[in-house]
């Protein structure tokens, strides 16, 4: 496409207004970078479009500037804080909401052994307790028998 044809096609205007698709943008890029005359025309056209929109400009209320300034400051601050945190900290803050205590797995057989031994001692203790109780009763009974025989 020749320079003049390309200029008159209106694709440059559409591109500067954000009305072109990707393929057309690619085309404009190629044409403008390849043709100095087209580049020169684009500068003039851009100035013309800017002038048109400057004519249509309306001063916004002063409060809007303040809102923009505050948002810009906040965004910068957040970005700065994020960057600082990123570089200075080596650990992640993880909040653990678990009330359980954890020990090494080697403790498991020790706990099992303690549990089993405690049961053995408990059974043995009960066995000897009831045995001593029955022996004492037997002793009392024999004593009582002997006393009766003596009488």
């Amino acid at each position: 496409m020749k320079t003049q044809e390309f200029i008159e096609s209106g694709i440059l205007e559409a591109h500067l207004l954000g009305l072109t698709d990707k393929e057309e943008q690619e085309k404009v890029r190629e044409m403008v970078s390849a043709d100095p005359a087209l580049e020169e025309y684009t500068v003039v056209l851009e100035a013309g479009i800017n002038t048109y929109f400057e004519r249509e400009s309306v001063n916004p209320p002063e409060a809007v500037r303040e809102v923009v300034r505050l948002r810009s400051t906040r965004a910068k601050k957040e970005k700065h804080e994020f960057t600082n945190e990123h570089t200075s900290r080596q650990y992640l803050d993880v909040e653990v909401n678990d009330t359980h205590m954890k020990v090494h797995k080697f403790w498991r057989p020790a706990f099992i052994a303690v549990f089993v031994l405690s049961k053995i001692f408990l059974i043995a203790g009960l066995y000897y307790y009831f045995k001593s109780v029955s022996q004492q009763e037997e002793l009392q009974r024999l004593k009582a028998q002997q006393i009766e025989q003596v009488k």
């Binding site: 200029i7 008159e8 096609s9 209106g10 694709i11 440059l12 205007e13 559409a14 591109h15 500067l16 207004l17 954000g18 009305l19 072109t20 698709d21 990707k22 943008q25 690619e26 404009v28 890029r29 403008v32 970078s33 580049e39 684009t42 500068v43 056209l45 851009e46 013309g48 479009i49 800017n50 048109y52 929109f53 400057e54 249509e56 400009s57 309306v58 001063n59 916004p60 209320p61 809007v64 500037r65 809102v67 923009v68 300034r69 948002r71 810009s72 965004a75």
Partner: protein, 153 residues
């Protein structure tokens, strides 16, 4: 591809038309705030809504991409302001749809009408061509007619 993607997509011409400058949001606002507000008001005539859109333009992360935009900062602001305003208008019209007939002008479409439909009403050149029963190339050509030195603009 939506309007905002078109801006963030840096597939335009090589950076030969602009000097590299990194401006802050407030500096850009001081320089182009009035122009952007004028553009937004053309698309959304409600001042309160237009002011909200204006704030969103100058606090948008896309504003930073204007620092590396191949053309002038003003051209980038024009695109960004329009894109944000059209997006807000679409959300608004999704709630209260416009009558299709109101958007179709009677008689021969002038470059002014075509520009209004594409830039202010937010239609793509293909949609404008479909509405006016003309070709897309005629739509694009009318942009040239609209902005040429002795045109309407």
């Amino acid at each position: 591809m939506n309007e905002l993607e078109r801006i963030s997509n840096a597939s335009g011409p090589q950076p030969v038309l602009k000097q590299d400058r990194n401006l802050s949001s407030v500096e850009v606002y001081d320089q182009y705030g009035a122009m952007a507000y004028g553009i937004i008001l053309q698309i959304i005539p409600q001042p309160h809504l237009a002011q909200e859109v204006l704030v969103s333009v100058f606090s948008s992360p896309l504003l930073q991409s204007c620092n590396s935009y191949p053309f002038s900062y003003a051209a980038c602001i024009i695109k960004l302001a329009r894109a944000k305003a059209v997006e807000a208008k679409r959300k608004l019209t999704a709630l209260t749809p416009l009558e299709e007939d109101n958007l179709r002008p009677a008689g021969t479409p002038t470059p002014q009408i075509i520009f209004d439909l594409a830039f202010r009403q937010g239609f793509t050149p293909e949609e404008v061509a479909g509405k006016l029963n003309i070709s897309k190339s005629e739509v694009l050509r009318s942009f040239h007619d609209f902005f040429k030195p002795n045109g309407n603009a």
